[in-house]
Point group: C2
Chain length 381, copies 2
C-alpha cells in the first residue's frame, strides 16, 4: 500500500515553513487553514464558493462525532462515503470524535475502553472508542483520519494531565492497530495522525510527543490547546513543541485560532490549522478584518458606506457596505450570515496565502510584523 | 420627462404574449417571475447567483412596508437609494405597503386618509397613506412603484368588495397625483402601476379596471387574488380580466403563485408575477420539481441518490443528492435553505424562460399541456 500523503517542505524562514502536502484528492499548499464542515457542510457557504479561485479551500474538516450520530454511518456508506454523500471532491480530514465527546462534560463518562455519552441530538446512550472511531473514519474515508484521544482541561494539574496523556497514548496505540487492521479492506490507505496531549506541562508534552512518534503516524497534531489555559501558555507550548516534532511530517494545531494565532503558530513551525471562528463568529455578526474585529451590530455602522475590510478583495467587500450587512443582521436575514461567513473565510484563507508567499520569498518576518501592527490599529478601539 | 418603461409585445399565442420590458436598468423579457426581496435581500441567496446565467433574474421585488420600518427611509436615502444600499444593479419593483398593512389584520385600522397600524417589529404606531407610500417609494427609487391600495378578502360580499374597491380607486387617484407632484424632483421618472381590486366579483373587477385605466398608469396589476377565495375563482377572474387590460401595458398578477398558476395565468394574458413560494417553501424543506412538489423531510429520501429534480440543470441538481439535502435539513443546517432556495428559484425562472421560448415559437399550447401532465405525474403521490 503506497504512502497516502506526500509532504515536501520547499521553503523555510526561521521555524516557519512552506510545504506541499499531496493527497489523492489534490495538492495542499501549507501552511493551510481548513474550514470546519462539522456535519458535512461548512456552515453558510456553498462548496462552489469554497472551490472558487477567491477562496480556493483545498481541504476541509468534518466531525466524526456529528456525522456518526446523524445521518449515521450506514447512510454515508450507502451513499458511497463522505465525499460522494456531500458532493465535495477535494481533500478532507476527519477528527476522531475524542474532543467532541470530551466537550460534552457531564454528559459523558470516560473509561479505559472508551467514552460513554449521551447524544446531543436525542439523549440516547452512545459509546465511542479508538476502534469504533477508526471504523467510522474508515467509512467516512477522508484523506486524513485522526487518532482517538482524550483532552485534559487547560488548567489540569500535572497528575491529571499525566493520567489523561497516558490514556491518550494507550488509545493512540489502539487507534493505530485498528487502522492497520483496516488497511487491508481499503482501496486507498487513509493517512492517520497522532495527537499530542499534556495540557500546559512542557515535560508531559515532550514525553507525549516522543511516545506518539514512537507509534509512528503520518502526521502529528497538537491537541488540547485553546481549551481554557492562560493566555500566553498556548504559544509557549507551541514554541517548545513544534520544532521537536518530526520535520518530515505535517504539524497540525487543532482548533486554533484567530488570524494572529495562526501567524504566530506558523512562526513556530506549525503547518495546518482548523477553527470554527470564521464561520461561527460570522453567524454571530463578527467580521475579521486586516484592522481587527468588527461587530456589525454596532450602531456606528448604520450608515457606513465602506466594505467590511477596505483591504479585502473578496466578492462581499467588492459589493456590499457595512450599512447593508448591518441592516441584514438586524433584520435577522440569512444573507448576513452568508456574507459574513464568506468574507471571514476569504480573510483567513487569503491571510494564509499571504503567509505562504511570504515564507517562499523570505519575507515572512516582515509580513508577520506588518500584519500584527495593522491588526492592532484597532477598527473599534 | 421620458417614458420610464418601454413595453413591446413581440409574440403572441392565443391570449399568451411574449414582450420586452425596457427599463433604465436593463431589458426584462416577459412573461417574467420576480423573486421577492422583502427587506432588500432575496432570502437565502446572493445577488451574484441571481445574476448568474443559470438564474438570470432581471428584476426583483422589494417591500416598501418592510424597508420603511427597517432600516428606515433616511438610512436608504443616505446610502444613495435602494439599489446602491443593497448592491443590486438590475431592475426593481417596490410594492406600496398596502397589502402588507392590510395583512396585519387586527393590528391595523383603515380610514379614508390611510392605514394606521402597529409595527410588527416594535409595536410602535405607524401611519401609511398614498402620499407617504409614494414618497417612500420615490426615495427607494425602484424602476417600478405601485399605487397604494386596499385589499378585500377573497370571500368579501359584493357590498364589502365595492366599498374596498372605491377606497382603492380614491387612493389610486391620490397615488397618481402624489407621483406626478414628485416627478419634478426626480432625475428619472419611476413607472407607476395601478392595482385592480374587486375581490371575486367580476362586475366590480371590470369597473375597477376601467376606472383605474382612466387614471392612466404605466402598467396594471391584478391585486387581491390568492387571498382566501375558492379554488378556481382566481383563474376565472384572470380569464375575464386580463384580455380587457390595456394590450400595450404590462399586466402584473400580484403574489401568485405555483408554477402551474403562472403558466395558467400566462395562458390568459398575464406578463409579470411575484411570489414568496420558491424562497419561503425552500426554507421549509419543499422543492418544486417538474414532477410536482417534493418534501425533503420525507424519510423516503434518506438514501436517495437522485437530484431534487432529474430534469433540472441547476447547480444544486448537478451536484447534490436528495439524501444530502435531507440530511442538511434534518440537521438544521443553513445550507439546506440555501440549496432549496437556489433550486426553487432556478426552477421558477427556468420555467418562465421555457414559457417565453414556447410563445415565441408558437409552441406554448404544447408546452403548457406537457408541463401540466408531467406535474401531475406526482413524485409523492
Amino acid at each position: 500500500m503506497s504512502n497516502p500523503l506526500n509532504f515536501e517542505v520547499n521553503a523555510t524562514e526561521g521555524a516557519a515553513r512552506a510545504a506541499l502536502l499531496t493527497t489523492r484528492r489534490g495538492v495542499i499548499e501549507t501552511p493551510v487553514f481548513m474550514p470546519v464542515g462539522t456535519a458535512g457542510t461548512v456552515k453558510g457557504i456553498r462548496f462552489e464558493e469554497l472551490e472558487s479561485p477567491e477562496l480556493d479551500a483545498r481541504i476541509i474538516l468534518s466531525n466524526t462525532y456529528h456525522l456518526w450520530l446523524r445521518p449515521g454511518i450506514e447512510t454515508i456508506k450507502a451513499c458511497g462515503g463522505l465525499h460522494n454523500f456531500i458532493g465535495w471532491n477535494r481533500a478532507m480530514l476527519t477528527d476522531s470524535g475524542g474532543f467532541q465527546v470530551w466537550s460534552l462534560g457531564a454528559l459523558r463518562k470516560i473509561t479505559e475502553a472508551g467514552t460513554e455519552f449521551r447524544s446531543h441530538i436525542d439523549g440516547s446512550l452512545c459509546f465511542l472508542s479508538p476502534e469504533i472511531s477508526m471504523e467510522v473514519q474508515a467509512a467516512l474515508n477522508a484523506e486524513i483520519a485522526m487518532a482517538f484521544d482524550e483532552c485534559a482541561p487547560g488548567e489540569a494539574t500535572h497528575d491529571e494531565a499525566r493520567q489523561s496523556m497516558e490514556l491518550t497514548l494507550r488509545w493512540a496505540r489502539r487507534s493505530k492497530d485498528a487502522h492497520v487492521a483496516q488497511i487491508a479492506n481499503l482501496r486507498y490507505r487513509q493517512a492517520l495522525f497522532g495527537i499530542i496531549q499534556g495540557a500546559s506541562h512542557l515535560d508531559l508534552r515532550r514525553e507525549s510527543l516522543d511516545r506518539t512518534v514512537a507509534i509512528d503516524f503520518d502526521g502529528y497534531a497538537i491537541g488540547g490547546l485553546s481549551v481554557g489555559e492562560e493566555k500566553g501558555v498556548m504559544m509557549e507550548v507551541i514554541e517548545d513543541l513544534a520544532p521537536r516534532m518530526p520535520a518530515d511530517k505535517p504539524r497540525y494545531l487543532m482548533g486554533v485560532g484567530t488570524p494572529e494565532d495562526l501567524i504566530e503558530a506558523v512562526a513556530r513551525g506549525v503547518d495546518m490549522f482548523d477553527c470554527v471562528l470564521p464561520t461561527r463568529n460570522g453567524r454571530n455578526g463578527q467580521a475579521f478584518t486586516s484592522r481587527g474585529k468588527l461587530n456589525i451590530k454596532n450602531a456606528r455602522y448604520a450608515l457606513d458606506q465602506q466594505p467590511l475590510d477596505e483591504n479585502c478583495a473578496c466578492s462581499v467587500c467588492n459589493r456590499h457596505t457595512r450599512a447593508f450587512i448591518r441592516h441584514l443582521y438586524q433584520s435577522g436575514e440569512m444573507l448576513a450570515s452568508i456574507l459574513l461567513t464568506h468574507h471571514n473565510l476569504a480573510f483567513f484563507l487569503d491571510t494564509m496565502k499571504g503567509v505562504r508567499q511570504a515564507i517562499r520569498s523570505d519575507q515572512f518576518a516582515k509580513f508577520r510584523r506588518e500584519f500584527t501592527e495593522q491588526m492592532h490599529c484597532g477598527l473599534e478601539s
